[in-house]
C-alpha cells in the first residue's frame, strides 16, 4: 500500500488550528520525549521506519519503503524511501537510521526508551558503555539498512515505529547537543517554527514532505499552560480547536448533556488499563486467595460510574482493542460473600490492615477511596497514601514499599499496540527488581518463558497464533491475580466545529490527542 492512497478527497489544504495543553512540553527529542503531550508532536516532526495506518493499530512502512524478515526472524532488512529530506534540506540516508539507533541506545543520551532495543545485536555493549555503535545495525547501502537481532522478536516492527527509533540528522544533533530537543529537525510532516518557552509552540507545514499532499493544515499552534476547564471555555468561544487534555471531569456531564457540544465529541477506545497491583512478595498478598478476594471485592461498575462512565469495566490486563484480548474471559465477578470466604480461607477472616498508594490527581484519589470502601466491606482496612507521581513510582519500585497501588494516572498506556507491551516491565520477572516497574513484584518464570516463546513468533502469518498464546499468558496471570484490573478508559476528544477528517483520527490509538498529519479544517477556501 502506498501512502498516497490514504489522502482524503474531502480534505482541503491550509488553515491553522490551536491546541492547548496544561503542562509544559518537555522535549521534542524523539530519543527522550515520553510524555503524552510530546509523543504525538514528535510523531509529526519525525518519522520512523515503520508507522501505523492513521486511526488504527495496523503497522505499515513509513520511511522504509519495504522490509524483509529473515526466516529465523532475527534479521530485518529495510529498504529506505528515496528523496526523503530532513527539515534542513539534507536527504535522509541509511547512515542516519544507524546513527539514530546508536544514539538512542547510548547511555549518554539517557533515553527512557533504550530498553526497547535490547533485542538488537550488540545492545549490551552499547548500554554498558563498551561500544558506541550497535553491532547489529549495518548500513548496506545508502538506502538499505540491516538489523540483526540476538533473538527473534515479534514486536520489533512495532519498536521501529515508536518514537525512540525515529530518525534524526546527526549534524543537527551535534549542533544543538543537549538542546536538540528544543530545536527538533526531522523528516516529519511539520517543522518547528517557533517555540516560546512556557507559552506556545508553532508547527509549520513541511512543504517538502515526502508524503505528497500531507499534511493538510498549514500551522498548528500549541498553547501551553492552559487549565483544561479554561481550554474548554475557549473552545466554546471559538478560540481553541482541540483541548489537548480532553474534557475535564468537572465539565463532562455538562458537555454531554448539551446536544450541540456532544456532537463534537468523539469517543474511542484506548490502549489503557487501570488496575490495582498487589505486592505478591508482601504478606498477606503473597497468598493468592487474598489477591483473588480483592479482585472480587471491587465494585467496578460503581467506579466506572464515579468517573462519569468514561470507561468500561475490565477483567484482564489487556484492553479490548489489543490483539490477544480474550472476549470470553470471565475474570473475577464482583462477589462480596465469596471474597470474604476466600479471605477466611486465607486465614484472614477478620480482614487485615494495609496501604493503598495512589497518585494525587483527580480522579485517582477518588477511585482509591471507592476501592478503599469496597475493601472495607470484606474487612480489609486500606489506608490511602495519595502522593505525587514520582513518590508512588518510588514506593512501587521498593521491594516492601507499597502493598497496593492504584495505577491510575501512571497507568499503562501501551507504547505500541502489541500484547507483549503489557507484560515485560510490568508483569515479567525483569521488572520485579529494585527500581523496576513491576509493582506487584510478580515473577512467574514459566510465564516469562512462554512470553519469550510468543515473541519469537515473528512470522506475520502466525500473528493469530501468537495472540492466542498471549491470551493464555494473561489468563494465567489472572489466575495468580497479581493485579485487580478495574477498567479500560475510553477516550473522549472534543473538537471545534471547523475540524474535519475521519472521527478515528481524533481517537487515534497512537496519536494523542489527534493525528495532526491527517486532520484538516473545513473553513479554508
Amino acid at each position: 500500500a502506498t501512502a498516497q492512497e490514504t489522502l482524503d478527497p474531502k480534505a482541503k489544504q491550509g488553515g491553522a488550528i490551536t491546541i492547548t495543553y496544561k503542562d509544559d512540553v518537555a522535549t521534542l527529542d524523539p530519543a527522550i520525549g515520553y510524555d503524552w503531550q510530546n509523543w504525538s508532536m514528535i510523531k509529526s516532526l519525525f518519522d520512523g521506519l515503520m508507522d501505523y495506518e492513521p486511526g488504527t493499530t495496523t503497522l505499515r512502512p513509513e520511511l522504509a519503503e519495504s522490509y524483509e524478515i529473515s526466516p529465523d526472524g532475527k534479521t530485518f532488512t529495510f529498504k529506505l524511501r528515496k528523496g526523503v529530506k530532513f527539515h534542513n534540506g539534507r536527504e535522509m540516508t541509511a547512515d542516519d537510521v544507524k546513527y539514530s539507533l546508536d544514539r538512542v541506545t547510548n547511555p549518554k543520551t539517557q533515553s527512557p526508551g533504550a530498553g526497547f532495543f535490547a533485542s538488537i545485536n550488540g545492545y549490551d555493549d552499547v548500554a554498558g558503555g563498551k561500544s558506541e555503535s550497535l553491532a547489529g545495525v549495518t548500513v548496506v547501502d545508502p538506502s538499505t539498512v540491516r538489523i540483526e537481532l540476538s533473538r527473534p522478536d515479534a514486536t520489533f516492527l512495532h519498536v521501529m515505529a515508536i518514537n525512540f527509533s525515529h530518525v534524526v540528522p546527526r549534524e543537527e544533533v551535534e549542533r544543538y547537543g543537549a538542546d536538540f530537543g528544543k530545536h527538533p529537525v526531522g523528516t516529519g510532516a511539520y517543522k518547528m517554527a517557533e517555540w516560546t518557552l512556557g507559552q506556545r509552540l508553532v508547527f509549520e507545514r513541511n512543504a517538502d514532505y515526502w508524503h505528497k499532499g500531507l499534511p493538510y493544515i498549514d500551522k498548528i499552534t500549541f498553547e501551553i499552560g492552559q487549565e483544561p476547564i479554561v481550554a474548554l471555555l475557549r473552545l466554546q468561544n471559538g478560540e481553541v480547536d482541540v483541548p489537548g487534555d480532553g474534557i475535564p471531569p468537572a465539565k463532562f456531564q455538562e458537555v454531554m448533556a448539551d446536544p450541540e457540544q456532544k456532537a463534537r465529541v468523539v469517543e474511542g477506545g484506548q490502549l489503557q488499563t487501570g488496575y490495582v497491583t498487589m505486592n505478591t512478595q508482601m504478606p498477606p498478598f503473597d497468598n493468592v486467595k487474598v489477591r483473588q478476594a480483592v479482585n472480587m471485592a471491587i465494585n467496578k461498575d460503581r467506579i466506572v460510574k464515579l468517573i462519569n462512565n468514561r470507561a468500561v469495566p475490565a477483567n484482564q490486563p489487556l484492553p479490548p482493542s489489543m490483539p490477544g484480548y480474550d472476549k470470553a474471559f470471565a475474570g473475577y465477578a464482583y462477589d462480596v460473600d465469596k471474597a470474604k470466604a476466600l479471605l477466611g480461607e486465607a486465614g484472614h477472616p477478620q480482614g487485615f490492615e494495609t496501604e493503598l498508594f495512589v497518585m494525587n490527581t483527580d480522579p485517582n484519589p477518588r477511585i482509591a477511596q471507592a476501592i478503599q470502601q469496597d475493601l472495607a466491606a470484606i474487612g480489609i482496612k486500606a489506608s490511602i497514601q495519595s502522593l505525587a507521581q514520582a513518590n508512588v513510582i518510588a514506593a512501587g519500585g521498593e521491594k516492601g514499599g507499597a502493598p497496593m497501588i492504584w495505577s491510575g494516572g501512571m497507568a499503562w498506556i501501551a507504547d505500541f499496540p502489541d500484547p507483549s507491551n503489557f507484560y515485560g516491565p510490568i508483569l515479567g520477572c525483569s521488572g520485579a527488581v529494585q527500581g523496576g516497574w513491576n509493582w506487584a513484584w510478580y515473577c512467574n518464570k514459566e510465564l516469562d518463558e512462554k512470553a519469550a516463546a510468543a515473541d519469537s513468533i515473528v512470522d506475520p502469518a502466525k500473528a493469530e497464533e501468537r495472540a492466542k498464546l498471549w491470551g493464555e499468558i494473561y489468563a494465567k496471570v489472572m489466575a495468580d491475580a497479581p493485579w485487580a484490573p478495574v477498567f479500560n478508559e475510553q477516550r473522549f476528544t472534543m473538537k471545534s466545529p471547523r475540524m474535519g477528517g475521519d472521527d478515528k483520527l481524533y481517537v487515534d490509538p497512537v496519536h494523542i490527542p489527534i493525528n495532526y498529519d491527517y486532520v484538516y479544517v473545513n473553513d479554508v477556501q
Binding site: G115, A127, I393, A394, I426, G435
Partner: protein, 306 residues
C-alpha cells in the same frame, strides 16, 4: 547608601547560600528517585546506574552540593531531569511573566487593601466597617482557583471585557492580578485598619485637624504616611507568600510564569528546577525586602538605613 547596599547584598548572598543549602538538603532527603524517572520503565539496573553516575547523583551530599554551588557561581543551574533543558533558560523564559503578575498583584493589593482598610478605620464600628471586614475575610478565605474561574467566567466569558486567559497586553493582566491580589488585599485591609486606628489617635492628627485641614488632607496627608509603614514592610514578605497563589492563578489564566514550572517540577520531582525556582524566588523575596527597607526612610525620615 552604597556601603549600606554593599552590606545588604553580602547579607543577601549569605541568605541565598543558606536557602540553597537547606533546600538542597531537603531535596536530597526526598524519597523519590529522579534517576528512575529519567531512565524510564524499560531500563535495566545497569542503565539506571550509568545515568546516576552521569548526573553525579551517586556522590556524597557534600560533593553534590559543592558542585552545584560552583556551577551556580557561573550561572549554571543545571539541566532539568524531565524537560532536559537548561534550568536557567526555562526560568528566564518564565520569570518576566511572574514578576509582571506579582507587580500587578501588589498594585491590586495595595489599591484595594489600603483603601478598604482606610475606610474601615475611619468608619470604625459602622456597618460599612463590618461589611468591609467580612469582605476582607472572604478575600483571605476564598480559594483562588474558584475566584479566578469566577472572574474569568463573569468578566471574560460572559461580559467579554477581558480575554479568556493568555499573556501579552495590559488587559490580559487585569484578571490574574486581581485574583492574586484579592488574598493580599484581605491582609492589607486588616493591617491597614489596625495601624490606621492607631495613628488616628496620635497627637499630630489632632494638630492637623486643629489647623482646619479637610478630612481628606488629614487622612491622606498625615495619617496614611504614618500608617503605611508596617504595610510597606509586608510587601517583602508578600512576595514569598505569592508563590502558592501564583501556581493556581497562572494555571487558571494560562499565564506563562514560573508557578506552573514549579508546580510541574514538584509533581515530578524535577530537582534542578525546584532548586532553581526556589533560589530565584528567594532572590525576589530578598530584593523585595531590601526594596521595602530602602523605601521606608523616604516615608518615615526618622528611619535610618543601618
Amino acid at each position: 547608601m552604597i556601603a549600606y547596599l554593599t552590606r545588604r547584598l553580602i547579607q543577601a548572598a549569605l541568605i541565598l547560600l543558606g536557602v540553597s543549602l537547606i533546600t538542597f538538603a531537603l531535596l536530597y532527603l526526598l524519597p523519590a528517585d529522579p534517576v528512575r524517572q529519567i531512565a524510564g520503565r524499560s531500563a535495566t539496573p545497569q542503565t539506571v546506574e550509568s545515568i546516576r553516575q552521569q548526573l553525579g547523583l551517586d556522590q556524597p551530599f557534600a560533593v553534590q552540593y559543592w558542585r552545584y554551588l560552583t556551577n551556580l557561581v557561573s550561572g549554571d543551574l543545571g539541566r532539568s531531569y524531565i524537560q532536559r533543558s537548561e534550568v536557567s533558560e526555562l526560568i528566564v523564559a518564565r520569570l518576566p511573566a511572574s514578576l509582571l503578575l506579582m507587580v500587578g498583584a501588589i498594585v491590586c493589593e495595595l489599591v484595594i487593601g489600603l483603601s478598604m482598610g482606610l475606610i474601615a478605620a475611619v468608619k470604625r464600628g459602622s456597618a460599612t466597617d463590618q461589611a468591609l471586614m467580612v469582605g476582607s475575610f472572604i478575600g483571605v478565605s476564598a480559594p483562588q482557583f474558584v475566584v479566578g474561574l469566577l472572574l474569568l467566567y463573569v468578566f471574560a466569558v460572559k461580559l467579554g471585557w477581558f480575554p479568556i486567559g493568555g499573556y501579552g497586553t495590559f488587559s490580559h493582566m487585569v484578571l490574574p492580578s486581581l485574583t492574586l491580589g484579592i488574598l493580599g488585599a484581605g491582609w492589607y485591609s486588616r493591617m491597614m485598619r489596625s495601624s490606621m486606628i492607631d495613628v488616628l489617635r496620635q497627637d499630630y492628627i489632632r494638630t492637623a485637624r486643629a489647623k482646619g485641614l479637610a478630612q481628606r488632607a488629614v487622612l491622606f496627608g498625615h495619617a496614611l504616611p504614618n500608617a503605611i509603614l508596617p504595610v510597606i514592610a509586608m510587601i517583602g514578605i508578600d512576595i514569598g507568600m505569592f508563590m502558592g497563589g501564583i501556581v493556581v492563578v497562572e494555571s487558571v489564566f494560562g499565564w506563562p510564569g514560573i508557578g506552573q514550572l514549579a508546580w510541574q517540577a514538584i509533581q515530578r520531582v524535577d530537582i534542578p528546577i525546584i532548586m532553581g525556582v526556589t533560589l530565584v524566588s528567594a532572590c525576589a523575596i530578598v530584593l523585595g525586602n531590601l526594596l521595602a527597607d530602602i523605601v521606608a526612610p523616604f516615608i518615615d525620615p526618622r528611619i535610618k538605613l543601618r
